[in-house]
């Protein structure tokens, strides 16, 4: 599949991390597409939860919600509750996975979606946390999905909107974040995780055809490299087709075709 876009590659890689019978707290956009793809491939009993108060959405291909609070997000849902209640399920530990993107991520998995520059003198005031801070604080295992480029993979985020492993070691637990953990970082170049004692980001596997040197060049900090760096299987034609149908809707048969 040579025509696969970076977004498609990341979503497909991320979808493979979601096991059947689990509960995933997804945001709109790529996380939701990845979760929807998992349900249509290897994890048909995966439950998708959305921030607006939706439990068990089944998604209408080509009409995915843009907001987690709109009616489209409820399509086929098993339960509708309110926003605060959804997050309290997360706090109680019911959600196996959380899924986040970010404008900036650092070597400890801290995320910034608040401000480029300083809070006192912002160069760019970004929209803010929304539920990101809660998802990374409260879901059992969190996946970060983002494009691999130096301006995103920075040594220190300008602002910790959503706490990863803070300053590494046991600093996350010492801050009182006793529940969640960061499972993996999925990019268009690689799959990464966090080394268990230092909690620094570590390269685990490469996307097909990508080299370690390429990943290093696109990372703005010193990356740990696992002893054995694997290679991820490329997206299958089936995964790509299902992903695109989910995103764009069923392919229309051209007029006049048999």
């Amino acid at each position: 599949m040579s025509d696969v876009t970076a977004d498609e590659l990341m979503a497909i890689t991320a979808s493979r991390l979601l096991a059947d019978d689990k509960v995933v707290f997804a945001g709109v956009g790529m996380p939701l597409l990845a979760a929807g793809l998992a349900r249509r491939t290897h994890a048909p009993r995966l439950t998708i939860v959305l921030e607006g108060g939706i439990i068990g959405t089944s998604l209408l291909p080509g009409k995915l919600p843009i907001s987690t609070n709109e009616m489209r997000a409820a399509y086929g849902a098993q339960m509708l509750t309110d926003i605060t209640d959804i997050f309290l399920y997360a706090q109680r530990g019911y959600f196996d996975y959380g899924f986040l993107g970010a404008a900036q991520v650092d070597m400890y998995g801290n995320l910034n979606t608040s401000v480029i520059g300083s809070m006192a003198h912002p160069r760019v005031r970004l929209p803010g946390s929304g539920g990101a801070n809660d998802i990374i604080s409260l879901c059992n295992e969190v996946f970060i999905v983002t494009q691999h480029e130096p301006r995103r993979f920075v040594p220190r985020v300008d602002f910790i909107t959503s706490p990863g492993y803070l300053s590494g070691g046991d600093s996350r637990v010492r801050a009182g974040l006793v529940g969640g953990s960061l499972g993996a970082v999925v990019t268009d170049l690689a799959l990464l995780d966090f080394e268990p004692s230092s909690r620094r980001m570590r390269l685990r596997a490469l996307q097909a055809g990508v080299t370690i040197a390429q990943v290093r060049a696109q990372t703005g900090f010193d990356l740990l490299i696992d002893e054995e760096v694997g290679e991820l299987p490329p997206p299958s034609a089936e995964e790509v087709a299902i992903y695109r149908e989910l995103r764009d809707g069923p392919e229309r048969v051209p007029a006049g075709a048999a």
């Binding site: 709109v28 921030e51 609070n69 709109e70 009616m71 409820a74 926003i83 803010g128 929304g130």
Partner: protein
């Protein structure tokens, strides 16, 4: 029980300069737009506005000089429309402030307010720069010693809520998501509810399990069919995404001046919200209604 019916203009007059106004619904879902328009028209000053997730109504309040402070977790319309440029203009220049809380923290702030307690303990926001910026305090559990964030209660001066049905006394029902509306209303000192339909108390009683707010929590009831347009109202009409496109295109063309222009053209130019709806056209509203019906479970 008193008859609390009034017009949107009369209800908006309950808001005073300097008030903290909480807006119900979320982002572009069940936003009390008829009430928001009435408040925009009144040109109040020095308001604080809070919401779970804030949409472009925030930019309209900024553009009319009504707003000093926004308290929320996220500002924008959604990914396809990019960063909120008018909001950026005011906040980056220091002309308005943005207290950024996490989404759960916003919910718990309203809930603490609704419960009548000064704070609620939670496991969210700990360790983040959000907590540091807001000077969020922590508490130790008196039983276990566990460290918890203590999010302070939020008791807005006025809550604006849009609902599907209400009776004249303020018994309020909604279909679908409740967003943070129950806690927002119970936390607020004055509660204004607009409803798609004013129904009899018998009709409320026939579906009492659907009642979201009892009459004694509500101060004003405003009849407002399509009162969330151009935002959606669950089960009744979808969001007018083309309206958002046009707004964002106008901001791109005119810069921050587009906000005031929007208010002049869509709020000031009309006698009331019904006239704004009439200008949108019955065909457009009918199409959005059909869209919502398609999504309802059979």
């Amino acid at each position: 029980m008193a008859d609390k019916r009034m017009t949107a203009a009369q209800a908006a007059a309950l808001v005073r300069d300097g008030d903290h106004v909480a807006i119900g619904g979320t982002l572009y879902s069940r936003t009390p737009m008829a009430l928001v328009f009435a408040l925009l028209r009144s040109r109040r000053r020095h308001l604080t506005v809070s919401r779970s997730l804030a949409c472009y109504e925030i930019e309209l309040f900024l553009s009319t000089g009504a707003l000093d402070r926004v308290v929320t977790s996220w500002v924008g319309i959604g990914l396809p429309w990019g960063l909120p440029q008018i909001f950026r203009h005011y906040v980056e220049r220091g002309e308005a402030s943005y207290d950024e809380w996490s989404h759960l923290a916003m919910g718990l702030r309203y809930k603490a307010g609704a419960m009548g307690v000064p704070f609620l303990p939670t496991l969210t926001m700990l360790g983040s720069d959000l907590a540091a910026t807001l000077d969020l305090q922590t508490v130790s559990c008196p039983y276990t010693g566990q460290r918890l964030a203590a999010v302070p209660a939020l008791n807005p001066d006025v809550a604006l809520i849009h609902a599907h049905r209400a009776d004249m006394f303020g018994n309020v029902q909604v279909d679908g998501y409740r967003h943070m509306d129950v806690d927002i209303a119970r936390a607020a000192r004055t509660v204004i509810v607009s409803a798609e339909q004013i129904v009899s108390t018998e009709q409320i009683a026939a579906r009492a399990d659907q009642t979201m707010l009892p009459h004694f929590t509500v101060d004003a009831v405003v009849e407002a069919p399509h009162g969330a347009y151009p935002h959606e109202c669950y089960g009744l009409y979808g969001p007018d995404l083309a309206h958002f496109d046009a707004y964002v295109a106008s901001v791109r063309e005119l810069g921050p001046a587009a906000g005031l222009r929007y208010v002049q053209q869509n709020v000031d130019a009309h006698a009331d919200f019904a006239a704004f709806l009439a200008a949108a056209g019955p065909g457009r509203l009918a199409a959005l209604e059909a869209e919502a019906r398609e999504l309802l479970p059979e």
